[in-house]
């Protein structure tokens, strides 16, 4: 089985990443369709972050990364940005000593030759999507709360008008209420037509929002299928949704 879509935005074939002699990711195959949310779930150390880093060109890799029909092997990071890929890393990588506005402004740096009006317009768009950021537009990023930082990281990535947004554990370390807000925004972004590759430990919430899902274990893709189907798979329930599922259910709805 595979994620069959008419127009795959991203198609990955036999992607391998090694740290020295240790293979962190072996022969991963996956696809993200235009306008889809695809999630990759899996335990700690399964290679999820490695997968995203390789896709973004942060880490060298082997295998084919096909974006919009253009095949690349171990692409440089600037190539991927030019193609419209955007990564929000787990640690956010914000510009801590700069203001919220400046963080956003730099988010659209890849369009720096375009007129200033355009940047201001997309900043206002972001403020409409994240009203909290508007309130704090002149504050330094370092003074924001964890949830606000995640919002800023998302908004900064969106300023680059990505075609594929890759999110690494966007709910990690956030309070349940904020987690809900993050997933609400992810769903809203899909309505706006942004394709998303989402990596999550919060499997329940991820499977609810996604169209298609992959389970990554020890560097291999162990399972895949439509998200709703995977959410009902007994193996997935046992390993990732677990007996504490009820508890998580309460937290993430």
């Amino acid at each position: 089985m595979s994620n069959v879509v008419d127009k795959p935005l991203l198609a990955v074939k036999d992607l391998c990443v090694s740290y020295g002699k240790i293979e962190a990711l072996s022969n991963a195959n996956l696809a993200v369709g235009e306008g889809q949310i695809v999630t990759v779930i899996g335990p700690n150390g399964a290679g999820k972050t490695t997968l995203l880093s390789a896709l973004m060109g942060v880490l060298p890799s082997k295998g084919e990364i096909c974006l919009d029909g253009k095949i690349e092997t171990s692409p440089p990071i600037k190539e991927m940005i030019a193609q419209g890929m955007s990564l929000v890393p787990e640690k956010r990588a914000l510009f801590a000593t700069m203001s919220v506005e400046d963080n956003l402004r730099l988010g659209s740096f890849r369009f720096h030759r375009r007129p200033k009006k355009e940047h201001e317009a997309s900043m206002e768009e972001m403020f409409a999507l994240f009203p909290r950021l508007k309130e704090r537009r002149n504050q330094l990023a370092a003074t924001l709360s964890g949830g606000e930082r995640q919002m800023l990281a998302l908004a900064r990535a969106l300023m680059g008008k990505p075609r594929l947004l890759m999110l690494d554990e966007p709910s990690l370390g956030l309070a349940p209420l904020i987690v809900r807000e993050v997933f609400r925004i992810i769903a809203e972004l899909r309505r706006k037509g942004v394709s998303i590759l989402l990596i999550e430990q919060n499997a329940r919430a991820a499977l609810r929002v996604a169209d298609y899902a992959y389970v990554l274990e020890l560097g291999h893709i162990a399972m895949e299928g439509p998200a709703s189907q995977l959410a009902n798979d007994p193996r997935v329930i046992e390993a990732y949704l677990g007996s504490s599922g009820k508890h998580q259910e309460m937290l993430s709805t």
């Binding site: 942060v58 510009f95 402004r105 730099l106 659209s108 680059g160």
Partner: protein, 345 residues
């Protein structure tokens, strides 16, 4: 020691301190953006001063050849990297820009009567010759190892410095040089003579510091450089390439160094190897700022200049010892206050 002497020493201290402050800012800028401790910062200073002196004296200038050699090396590296990436030799028109510029510079230096050109034109020419050395230096020596360990970057930085000092000896000879002041005369202020050269140095330094402030606070490119210093991965993810940031910070360093060299040329005799000690004092200033704070670094460097001036009066032969010993209490204080600095990545 009377009032007159205090004013005189103070004036000396402020003049040198302003130069050290500029160099401290430059070293800090390059370090925070690229993690490279720019030891060759001083060569920009001495080369610029010696360029000015050679033009004034009507002597032949060989620095165009250094520019040409570096730009050819940059071109070769560019071709090699493209070949490795794409499997074919591709060079665009823009890749030849530095080479053509260097050729033009060589031609100009060989033919034009620079000795009679006048100070402002000589100064502009000097900037035009020294500033391109910055981005070329980054391209040739550092770009390929930019992600390497900071110790590797430091060692390469020292090597580039040593090589440039040698090349400086070849280009300018072993004799020191000093140029005529930009303007004669002095003004009376509070019963003391203020030398016009002091005013030049202080004014240009202040203008440069204000300009840098606006560049970093108000322009997108300045913010992009700051962003690279704050979070390298974040900067790369929004499309600020490390190469661009590296070349830009080295260009600024070369500009600041060259301006400092032009300013200092009428004040002290500069030799081919004088740059190192001058920029080392700027470095002490940036250490006082913890290699992080621009205002503290500038004030620290000004303090170094004053300490140097007054120790020249009291204990002339121990002048350098006193200045460099000043770094110890600051290092001690910094390490006690912060418990050691951890690497970000």
């Amino acid at each position: 020691m009377n009032y007159q002497i205090v004013m005189l020493l103070g004036q000396d201290g402020v003049t040198n301190g302003a130069i050290y402050a500029l160099l401290a800012l430059s070293i800090l800028l390059v370090f925070t953006v690229t993690r490279i401790l720019l030891i060759p910062q001083g060569e920009f200073v001495s080369f610029a001063a010696l360029c000015m002196a050679a033009m004034e004296g009507g002597k032949p200038l060989y620095i165009g050849w250094l520019l040409l050699a570096l730009s050819l090396a940059a071109l070769a590296l560019e071709a090699k990297e493209r070949y490795q990436a794409n499997g074919k030799l591709q060079l665009k028109g823009g890749d030849f820009a530095f080479t053509l510029y260097s050729l033009a510079a060589c031609a100009l230096l060989a033919t034009a009567p620079l000795g009679t050109a006048g100070k402002p034109i000589q100064a502009l020419l000097t900037l035009g010759l020294i500033v391109p050395l910055g981005p070329l230096m980054y391209r040739v020596f550092f770009q390929a190892i930019a992600a390497g360990h900071s110790l590797v970057l430091l060692i390469v930085s020292i090597a580039v410095h040593v090589a440039l000092v040698g090349i400086g000896l070849l280009m300018f000879g072993a004799e020191g040089a000093r140029i005529q002041p930009f303007s004669e005369g002095s003004i009376q202020l509070g019963g003391a003579n203020i030398n016009s050269q002091t005013l030049w140095v202080v004014a240009v330094s202040l203008i440069l510091i204000v300009a840098l402030y606006f560049f970093f606070e108000k322009t997108l490119y300045g913010k992009a450089l700051r962003a690279t210093a704050v979070n390298r991965l974040g900067a790369e993810l929004v499309g600020i390439s490390p190469e661009l940031a590296g070349k830009a910070s080295f260009s600024l360093a070369a500009l600041i160094g060259a301006l400092s060299g032009i300013l200092i040329a009428p004040i002290t005799t500069i030799y081919f190897d004088s740059g190192f000690v001058i920029s080392l004092k700027g470095f002490v200033g940036s250490i006082i700022g913890g290699l992080a704070s621009y205002p503290v670094a500038a004030i620290g460097a000004l303090g170094i200049g004053l300490a140097e001036a007054f120790s020249t009066f009291w204990a002339s032969s121990y002048k350098e010892v006193i200045v460099f010993t000043l770094i110890l209490p600051f290092l001690l204080w910094r390490s006690l206050a912060h418990g050691g600095v951890e690497e970000e990545e």
